[in-house]
Point group: C2
Chain length 240, copies 2
C-alpha cells in the first residue's frame, strides 16, 4: 500500500518522526505537501483540516492516509506503522512499551517547542522573548536532564540494552536519534556540557545515523535542514 503523509513541507517538526520510520522501512510513501501537481501541495493538506463534514478530521498535521484510514497524532501514526514496518516488538507488552516511550518523547518535544513559545504559538518569538529566556533556563537546568536522564536509564536498565525496547530496533530509537540531533542544533552549548552524562543515548544516536537507509536519507535532499520555523530552533540567547 502506498501511504500518504501530510505534513508541512518546509520543516522537520513532528513529521520527522514519521519520515524517519518511513526511511528506515524503505516504505512507499508520498510526502503530499512537498509535491506539486493535482491533489498535492499544502492546499491538499489544508483541505483535510478544514473539512467540517469529516467526522474524523485530524486536529493538526502530521496525519497519514492509509487506504481509507486517516490517522492523526504522531505517536498514533507510529503505533499504526510500527508492526507494519517491523519497527516495534511483536509482543503486546513490547508494543505498549514503545508507545509509552514515544508518548514520553512527545511530551519532551512539546517542552522543547515551548522554550521558544512559552506564551502561545500564535505570537512571534520576539513577542515572548523575555518569557522564553526564563522558560529555556528552567528547561536546560531541570527538564532536559530529567528527560535525558530517564531515557539514558531506560537504555542502561535491564542489564544494558542495545535499543530502547531491548534487542529489537523500534521507532522509539529513531526518535531518540532525532532528539539528540535536534537538541544539538538548538542548544549546542548546553549539549556540549550535558552530553557526557548520556553516553548510551549518544551512542544510540550514532548507531542509528550509521544505518544504511538512515545514512542515505540524511545525505539526501529529502532530509530538510533544521531551521527557525520548526520545533528545534537555534536562538543563542536561549542556550545559556
Amino acid at each position: 500500500m502506498q501511504y500518504k503523509l501530510y505534513y508541512w513541507p518546509s520543516i522537520q517538526g513532528r513529521g520527522e518522526f514519521v519520515r524517519l520510520a518511513r526511511e528506515e522501512a524503505g516504505a512507499d510513501y508520498v510526502d503530499v505537501a512537498r509535491r506539486s501537481g493535482r491533489g498535492m501541495g499544502v492546499p491538499a493538506l489544508e483541505k483535510f483540516l478544514d473539512d467540517e463534514k469529516l467526522g474524523s478530521a485530524p486536529y493538526a498535521p502530521p496525519f497519514l492516509k492509509a487506504g481509507k484510514l486517516i490517522i492523526g497524532q504522531t505517536a498514533n501514526i507510529l503505533l499504526y506503522l510500527g508492526p507494519r514496518h517491523g519497527l516495534t516488538p511483536r509482543s503486546e507488552a513490547g508494543r505498549i512499551w514503545v508507545n509509552q516511550l514515544q508518548l514520553t518523547i512527545a511530551d519532551f518535544v512539546t517542552e522543547i517547542h515551548d522554550t521558544h513559545h512559552p506564551i502561545g504559538g500564535s505570537l512571534y518569538y520576539h513577542q515572548q522573548k523575555a518569557e522564553a529566556r526564563r522558560r529555556a533556563k528552567n528547561f536546560r537546568t531541570e527538564r532536559m536532564p530529567k528527560f535525558l536522564g530517564y531515557f539514558e536509564q531506560v537504555l542502561a536498565g535491564g542489564k544494558g540494552r542495545r535499543y530502547m525496547a531491548g534487542n529489537t530496533l523500534s521507532y522509539a530509537d529513531l526518535s531518540v536519534f532525532q532528539l539528540i540531533a535536534g537538541l544539538r542544533y538548538a542548544f549546542p552549548k548546553t549539549m556540549k556540557k550535558q552530553e557526557p552524562d548520556y553516553p548510551g543515548l549518544v551512542d544510540l544516536h550514532y548507531r542509528i545515523a550509521a544505518r544504511p537507509k538512515i545514512a542515505a536519507y540524511l545525505a539526501s535532499k529529502r532530509r530538510l535542514a533544521f531551521n527557525e520555523y520548526g520545533i528545534f530552533r537555534h536562538y543563542p540567547e536561549l542556550d545559556g
Copy 2:
C-alpha cells in the same frame, strides 16, 4: 484481574481519566497511593519511579500495574484498558480514532496545565504569575476555542454523532466529560461565555454525568474535589 493504579492521592490530575474508565467499567482496581498499609501509599508509587534497575520504569504517574505489565502514560493506559473494559470500538480503525482523540485531549490538558505554569513545574505559581496571565489570555482567546471547536466539530460531523466515536461509548467521551468539568472549575467566567458555542460537548458532558456508575462515583468520596494542586486550578486572575 485486579489492576493497580498508581497516581497521586490528593488530586484528580491525569489519573482522573483512568479513574473514570475504571468507574464506568465497574472494574476491580486498587488506587495504591490512596490506600494505607503494606505495599500501599505514596512510597509504593515512588518506589517504581526511583527504580534504576527497572528497564521499563514509567517516567511519571499515572501508571498501571496489570499482572506483570507496568504501563505508563495516560493515553497508553487507556489504549490498553479500552478493549478490556468495553470502552472503545471493536474495529482497529475505531481504536485508532479513539486513541487519536485521547492524544489530542492530552495535548489540550498540557496547555490547560501550562496556563498556571508557563515557565516551569518546579516553580511556584506566584513565581510565574505575570507570565501565567499572558499565557492564560492566549489560552482563553485562542487555544480554548480551537480545541473545543474541534471536539464539537467531531461530534457534529458524520451526520451528528451520539458519542465521539459514533454510536459506541468510549473512554474519549469520559475524557470530554472531565474536560468540561475541569474547565468550568478553572475558568467559570470564560466557560459561561463560550459554552453556548459547544452545545454538543455540553450535552455529552451531562449524558456522561448521568450514567449510573459515573453518577454514583461523582457522589462518592472516591471522586476527589478539584483543587489548586492539580491541572485545573481556579485562579480568578487567569479567568479574564
